[in-house]
Each structure stands twice: as structure tokens, then as C-alpha cells.
Amino acid sequence: MKTRSPLMSLMVAMAKGFVRDKMTLFWSVAFPLMFLVLFGGIFTDQGAAKLDVVQVGQVSVLDDLPKPAREALGEGFTVEKRESLDAALQKLKDGDIDGVVTQQGDDVVIHFSAADQVKAAQVQGWFSGLVQVANQAATDSPPKFRLKTEQVEDEGLKQIQYVTPSLLGWAVAMSAAFGAALNLVSWRVNGLLRRLRLAPIRTSSVVMARVGVSLVVALGQAAIFIGLATALFGLKLSGWWPLVIPLLAAGTLAFLSIGMLGGAISKTEEGAIGLANFIVLPMAFLSGSFFPLDGAPKWLQIISNCLPLKHLNQGMLDVMVRDQGPSAIVLPMIILLGFALVLGGIAAKLFRWDT
């Protein structure tokens, strides 16, 4: 057997301690994955939801539709024929269907419910299109303009595209901050730090070992997250996705420094866990890890922009699903490394070998 370097032996010791601790493993890997499955599952189903429309009586724009157009309809709409208008309207009010269509003379009448405005708008828009097509066909001349639509994002508005980078950011933040804080405090409490102080190793070796282990853990989390989201929920990565590696590395350093600071302040392991939770959980919400903050009030967005996780999430979204190149990670990297430098510096000042 080969003699390991002090740095390597400390890393191996930390890594073994991490892997053998079922609780830590659960919180840093299994727990965020549960969220991924939860969010991924929910939003994938919603994306496939169809609009249900009930047709009462003759509606020529629908009835005269050529067969291929009719089939194409089937993808987003189901049209059901019913006799009673009142019964159909009642179903609409109850929210069981999304629209009722009738024809009075040349007027195509759409009944909609204001309870679900998104679906109401979809139904109206779609029928307005149908009427245009029918009008144009009535003129017996070929259409002059045609509308082509192209979405900016890859495929659909699949939530998994948003959820994977954001939850990964949260998971990495959590394990880096908790790992560093707990490690530091428990080694100080059990006296191991003092013992290490008497060994012929550099102080920085202890810190570097922690950095190394956290980086490996973060990359492992990324591999599991991206692999699972791709395999199960149809995540589609853009070409620049490997840029998550430098981004995650910078993010890990930033959250490590938060953890180190927490570990330097806390006297007990329980205190360290509490402090890390107190910082990481609100930060995850405010950084859009669980839901987008585009609709949030201005002041909340300002707070959000002061948090390192927000910039990690932003950068990861850009390179993983928005197909942006290296320039997209420059600013996030600078901000994350800045956090790491400042907080790490404070943590080093407050560092104690002893309780």
C-alpha cells in the first residue's frame, strides 16, 4: 500500500465519514432528489393537459373542417357534441369543461369561464383562428399571409427544464454549507482539530481537504440530478451544459465559506445545523430554487440579487437549458467567488482550534 499525502488522507477520512453517515447522505442527496421527482412529476403532467370543449348544435367552422385539420385538433383539444346548452353551460361553470361553442346564424359563440383565465384565453384564441381560416376559405382565394410560430426555448415549456438547474443549485448549497459547518464544529468539539494542530501538516490542508470533498460531492450531485432528470422526466440539455462544472465549483466555494463561517461561530453541532438551515432555506426560496421569482415584487428581487444562490441558479439555467455560452457564467462566477473570498476571509479570522 502507498502512503497517502496528508491532504489526500484527510480527504479520504472526510469522504468516508460522509458516505457512512446515512443522515447526511439522505439530506444532501436523497432529499433534494425527492423534490426533483415531485416537481418534475407534477409539472410534466400539467404540461400535457388538454382543453375540453363542448359543441352544442351545428357549428360550421368545426363541422366543415377538413379531416387532417380535425385530427391535428386532437392534440390540444377534445370537442364533444351535446344536445343541451344549459347542461353544457352548467358543466362549464362547475369547471368540468373549458368552453362551450354554438353557432347562431353566422356568429360563432364561445362561452368561457373567467375562473380559469389561461384556458379561457386559449379557447378564445383557438376559435378566433378557426373563424379566420373559415373566412379566408370562403373567399376561395389562397391565403396571402401565413403565420409561423417558433418558440424560443427548446421544446415545450416543460418545467423540468427550470426545476433541474434550480433544485441542483439548492442541493449543492445545502450539502456544501452543512458539510463544512458540521465538519468544522464536530472536529472542534471532539478535539480532533487540536490533535491535527499538533501534527506536521499545514492548517490549509484541513481546509483544502474539505474543499476537495465538497467539490466531489457537488459534482456527484450534479451527475445524479442531470442523469435522473434526463432519463425520467425528459430534461433536454443545451450544448453548453458542461459549463455547470466551473459554475458548481465556484458555487461550492461560496457555500462552503458560508458553512465555515457558521462553523466558526457555532459552539455545538446542533447550533451549526440550525444556523446553516437558517441561512440556506430562506436563501433557496429567495433565489428561485423552488419557483421562479419573475412575478415577485421588486424589493424581493433586489434581495434575491444579493444572494449567491440566485446567481448560481441563473448561471446554471443559462448554460443548461437556455443555450447560452461561456459569457453567461462570467458574472455569476465573479459574484460567487467574491462571496467565497469575503466570507472565507471572515471565517478564517474567526477560526478557533479549540472550544
Binding site: 502507498k2 499525502s5 468516508k16 494542530r197 499538533l198 506536521p200
Partner: protein
């Protein structure tokens, strides 16, 4: 092999408390030196200052010419330290603890098995440290201090919290530690431990050294009478009081205790009367030394 230690005028204050109050001593190469005193006497603070874990408020500490407060690899390779708390890497096995510590000193993992053998933990090699008993943890932590075969070994209360049987087992092991000429410094609050293991003992109380000598010399220097105890049936109380040289006679549960400064004639007299049933003779102990110097009863807790 074997380092020498010099401590001169060591003072450690915490606020208004003088935890260590002008302590001086020297330990020679290969010596087994004990710091003995009740809890809170200042022995651990003294030891930790010598190890380099604390900076002295005043005074000087020197190990083979090095100042231990300055972290220097040349010195760190010479000293082995077992800390009071059992300081281990969480969830690592006994062997992994040793091979990790060995690597910190640039020593290969094969050293771990040597040490496991030496401290009798071969069967526990694959057990996580959390599953070891108190005595096994103590032995492992001493083994961790020995990975780099240091010239001086510091042991802080190595047998604290052990049952009497485990303590005696550990003494056997500790006695061999300075055979190779290694210097050993230990703190203990067990008088018996200091008497058994140490070449010289410093008795510390309230941050000061009360006495410093070999255990035998300390006890000899004591002006305490010899205690002779017998079965109650061997001799009557009045008869005992009339014995030549008898100073004080007491009846305790299960024995008659006679104190004397001339045990020879008294024992001869007892023998001639064939009254030696249950005979036990005891001279003073370090506890008596403590008692005579402080006027306080020594309590091992």
C-alpha cells in the same frame, strides 16, 4: 531517543484566575514523569502549554530547544499527544484512524497493523471507533499518538473513566512505553497510578507544585506512622494499646489497626504472641503526602 523538557516559571491566567501559578520542572530523556493532582489543579493546562496547544501567559517552555507554541514540523515529529477527549475521525474504523494519522506524518498504512497488535486491538481493527469500549478507545488514542514513534509522549488522564480492571490492564501497557528510552509525561488524578508508573511525580494543587520527587522519596519524607492491621479476633483492643511503640489503636469494621513509628519491635512482639492473623502492614501513600501538604483529604473525583 528521548527528549528533554524544561519548564520555567510557567503562568497561565484566565481573567483573574491563575490556573497555573509559577510552575517549573524539568524532565530528562527517557523519564516517566507524572503531574498529579485533583481535578482543576491546573495539570491539564500545564500539559497543554507544554504540548504547544496553549500560549503561556508568562514563563518559558522548551522541548529539546524548541518552543512548542510555534508550530514547527521538526518538533511536531518528535512529540506524540493523546488528548483528554478521545479525538477521532467520525465513522472511521480503528485501522483507518491509525493509517490516517500515520499518513499525516508521512508514514505508510502498514504501521496501523503494527500498532493494533501492540495495543491489543487486532480483532477490533475493522470496527468503527464509535463501537469501541472506553478502554479500547483509550488504547486506540494512545496508539494514534504513537504512529510516528515520537521521542516524547504526552498522556492526559489516560485511564480516566475506566473501570479498575481496565485501568490495571492499561498500566501494564503504559509501563512499557518508555522502555525504548522514550520520555513520557502523564497527568492523572489517581495517586495509585502515579505511584505505579512514574519515575518522578509533581504534586499539583491550585496551580502550584507542592512536591516534586520520586514517589518513594515523597512517601519516605512523610512523617506518617506505619499502620498494622489484624483480624479483630487476633488481639484485644486493650492488649493492643499496651504493645511496645503503639501510638494509636482503632477498631474498624473487620480489623484492628495499630499505628506505630517502630514497626520492628511491635511486629516481633505480635509474632511472639502468635497474634498475626490477617496481618497487613502499610506505609503512607501519595494521598498522605497530599493530605499532609494541603490539610485536605484527597478525593479522586
Amino acid at each position: 531517543m528521548g527528549a528533554s523538557i524544561n519548564v520555567e516559571g510557567l503562568v497561565m491566567t484566565y481573567g483573574s484566575l491563575r490556573a497555573v501559578d509559577d510552575i517549573s520542572f524539568a524532565v530528562g530523556p527517557g523519564e516517566f514523569f507524572g503531574l498529579l493532582g485533583p481535578n482543576g489543579a491546573g495539570k491539564t493546562t500545564t500539559l497543554e502549554t507544554v504540548e504547544g496547544l496553549r500560549k503561556a501567559t508568562a514563563g518559558r517552555v522548551d522541548i529539546d530547544g524548541f518552543d512548542p507554541w510555534k508550530r514547527q514540523p521538526e518538533l511536531q515529529r518528535r512529540i506524540g499527544v493523546q488528548l483528554q477527549a478521545s479525538s477521532f475521525f467520525e465513522r472511521l474504523t480503528a485501522r483507518e484512524q491509525l493509517s490516517t494519522f500515520a499518513a499525516l506524518y508521512g508514514i505508510g498504512p502498514e504501521r496501523a497493523d503494527e500498532l493494533l497488535e501492540q495495543v491489543g486491538l487486532v480483532e477490533k481493527a475493522g470496527d468503527p471507533v464509535e463501537k469501541l469500549s472506553g478502554g479500547q478507545k483509550q488504547r486506540l488514542s494512545i496508539a494514534c499518538a504513537l504512529v510516528h514513534d515520537p521521542e516524547v509522549l504526552f498522556l492526559d488522564e489516560p485511564t480516566a473513566a475506566l473501570d479498575p480492571q481496565s485501568r490495571r490492564n492499561l498500566w501494564d501497557f503504559l509501563q512499557g512505553l518508555n522502555d525504548s528510552g522514550r520520555t513520557v509525561v502523564l497527568t492523572t488524578h489517581y495517586m495509585e497510578e502515579a505511584e505505579t508508573l512514574c519515575d518522578r511525580v509533581a504534586i499539583i494543587d491550585h496551580g502550584r507544585i507542592l512536591e516534586l520527587d520520586t514517589p518513594d522519596a515523597l512517601i519516605r519524607g512523610l512523617d506518617v506512622p506505619t499502620r498494622i492491621s489484624l483480624e479483630p479476633e487476633a488481639i484485644g483492643l486493650d492488649e493492643a494499646r499496651a504493645l511496645p511503640g503503639a501510638l494509636d489503636v482503632q477498631q474498624t469494621a473487620g480489623s484492628v489497626v495499630i499505628e506505630t513509628r517502630e514497626p520492628g519491635p511491635l511486629l516481633a512482639e505480635l509474632a511472639s504472641r502468635d497474634a498475626l492473623a490477617g496481618l497487613a502492614v502499610s506505609k503512607g501513600t501519595l494521598e498522605d503526602v497530599f493530605l499532609s501538604r494541603t490539610g485536605r483529604e484527597y478525593r479522586e473525583s
